[in-house]
């Protein structure tokens, strides 16, 4: 008996996992506990995995999602150097968990059966939870981790219940066979509906969609900033990828049971996220709530996933969102390190006093808001509204429009604060360590990429599937 291994799919994830183990071992046996020691293998593994991914011939959508995951992970790994010399953060565990979660994310978007999906979901979730609570002796982090944990395991259990019911209805867990089995006329529709909705729940949770969103602000603010960045970009990318592939490949026959759910969840998610963000005074809290709202935008094109545009709009939106969010979080991580605060009031006038951090932050925020001159943000908003409208969900399109507006309200507030005149001299750490430069460089590279795709959107749009 010979069981083939699809290395196109498994290759990158394996490399990332090896990187995780090497990082752990380096940390254990290389006694000088520097952040770089375990970070280096992690970065190398990520780069190697990216190379492997590009070399291989993965199909278009998993490729795109994997690329977002890998680049996001690399970004986080490099920017995390800002936590160097922070005694409460053990570097070995940090990188190990980060890479494990990344491997989970990679597997999740390439999953072709529900077993892999569930395992990958957990491989992503559990290290993420640990990452949030990793900062030793930090009560808030631990509490956040607990909230996150509880929400996560419950949603996983619900998903598993859904999966088991799907199995019960169809007798298979493979996506393609599932799709065929669901087209058989005599499958019990009511059970299928319940099963599908339950299955989707776990992914919606990872995505941070309402009503599974409450862990997000907690986890983002409780954990360290780059962990929040990871959750907001990589974790979301994986969840979205998995969800869309699942809906598009295996559940189109059951679309009448998930489509209304997804549409309503998307609408409610963006609205609640935006309303929550309006009340935030801390930049991280603001981004946390805004990322809930963004999850709604990511989710919305899923209603038309069987349409002519397929997964493309979501992929494109995701890529831009992830990059912008990572830039923003990395910049905030640096600022938190240098100034000890990310409250909006404390960041006032940043674009003037420290343009190398302020301008990227402004540009990233503009991108998230979809506001020129960050044309790419606007264009991707257009890109996600289009399939929704074309598929006939005009009401959802209008809700999206209203939410673009709501989002602008607080994004612009942040921008205006950043560009404003600062009232006093901010506290700035007198001698920023060299490791901060890594994070700064990622911020600048990310911003350069954002500006490039803003100037020439086709650079991104025509290269993503």
């Amino acid at each position: 008996m010979n069981i083939p291994v699809d290395w196109t799919v498994a290759g990158p994830a394996t490399i990332v996992l090896v990187g995780a183990l090497v990082a752990l071992m380096v940390d254990a046996f290389y006694s000088r506990r520097t952040w770089l020691g375990s970070g280096l293998p992690a970065s190398i593994a990520t780069v190697a995995a990216t190379a492997e991914l590009v070399r291989g011939d993965a199909s278009a959508y998993p490729f795109a999602f994997s690329l977002v995951v890998l680049i996001g992970t690399l970004f986080v790994v490099v920017a995390s150097n800002v936590m160097n010399f922070e005694n409460a953060m053990p570097p070995g565990e940090y990188h190990f968990l980060l890479m494990s979660a990344a491997a989970g994310a990679l597997l999740m978007v390439s999953a072709r059966d529900l077993v892999t999906l569930v395992v990958a979901l957990e491989l992503l979730s559990l290290p993420s939870i640990a990452l949030v609570g990793l900062r030793q002796g930090d009560q808030r982090a631990i509490r956040s981790a607990w909230t996150f944990f509880l929400a996560s395991v419950v949603s996983t259990a619900v998903t598993l219940m859904g999966v088991s019911l799907l199995y019960g209805v169809t007798g298979t867990l493979r996506y393609d066979e599932l799709a065929d089995a669901l087209t058989v006329p005599d499958v019990p529709r009511s059970v299928v509906s319940v099963a599908v909705v339950l299955t989707v729940v776990g992914l919606l949770f990872k995505l941070g969609a309402v009503p599974f969103h409450l862990w997000i602000p907690d986890a983002y603010e409780g954990g360290s900033v780059m962990v929040a960045g990871f959750l907001s970009a990589v974790s979301k990318a994986a969840a979205l990828g998995a969800l869309l592939v699942l809906l598009a490949v295996s559940l189109p026959a059951a679309s009448d049971s998930w489509q209304p759910v997804v549409a309503v969840v998307a609408a409610v998610t963006m609205t609640i996220g935006n309303i929550g963000a309006l009340r935030q005074d801390d930049a991280i809290g603001l981004l946390a709530w805004s990322s809930i709202a963004q999850a709604g935008f990511l989710l919305a094109p899923a209603v038309a996933v069987s349409g002519p545009f397929g997964l493309t709009p979501a992929v494109q939106y995701l890529a831009v969102y992830a990059l912008a969010n990572l830039v923003a979080f990395a910049a905030l991580a640096v600022l938190l390190r240098l100034r000890g605060s990310t409250r909006l009031d404390d960041l006032r006038g940043l674009a003037r006093t420290d343009p190398w951090m302020g301008v990227p932050l402004v540009f990233a925020t503009l991108t998230l808001a979809g506001f020129p001159p960050a044309v790419i943000g606007l264009v991707t908003k257009y890109v996600v509204i289009r399939p929704v409208v074309e598929d006939g969900h005009v009401w959802l399109g209008v809700v999206m429009g209203v939410n673009v507006m709501l989002g602008l309200a607080y994004y612009l507030r942040m921008i205006v604060t950043l560009c404003g005149r600062q009232d006093g001299e901010p506290y700035v750490s007198p001698s920023p360590p060299i490791s901060v430069r890594f994070a700064k460089s990622t911020v600048l590279i990310g911003t350069a990429a954002l500006i490039a795709v803003s100037a020439w959107p086709d650079l991104l749009l025509s290269h993503l599937p």
Partner: protein
């Protein structure tokens, strides 16, 4: 054997577990609730597997994975509870919260 009984039992277990997670305020009991939910899933899977007489035993395979997942979840959960307990000296979630 009828498929109905294991399914009923499984639903009941799942419901009890969910109730436990949502209604209990003791962290350890919440973890127990999660365990119940996962085992309800296992029961479901095994029942379906037997019912289909699935040659590949997909259901059993997933059950194995679920067991492992449950273990790692509980491991992580207990670790968090322990850290929580060290920090605030209680496992009552209400007291821990805010």
């Amino acid at each position: 054997m009828s498929l109905l009984y294991p399914l009923l039992l499984s639903s009941a277990l799942f419901g009890i577990g969910l109730y436990g997670v949502l209604a209990r305020r003791n962290a350890v009991l919440m973890l127990l609730g999660v365990e119940l939910m996962l085992n309800a899933v296992n029961l479901n899977l095994v029942a379906f597997d037997a019912w289909f007489a699935d040659a590949l035993h997909t259901g059993q395979v997933l059950t194995l994975f679920t067991i492992a997942l449950a273990a790692s979840e509980i491991g992580l959960g207990l670790a968090i509870v322990l850290a929580l307990f060290r920090a605030v000296r209680t496992v009552d979630v209400d007291e821990v919260g805010r």
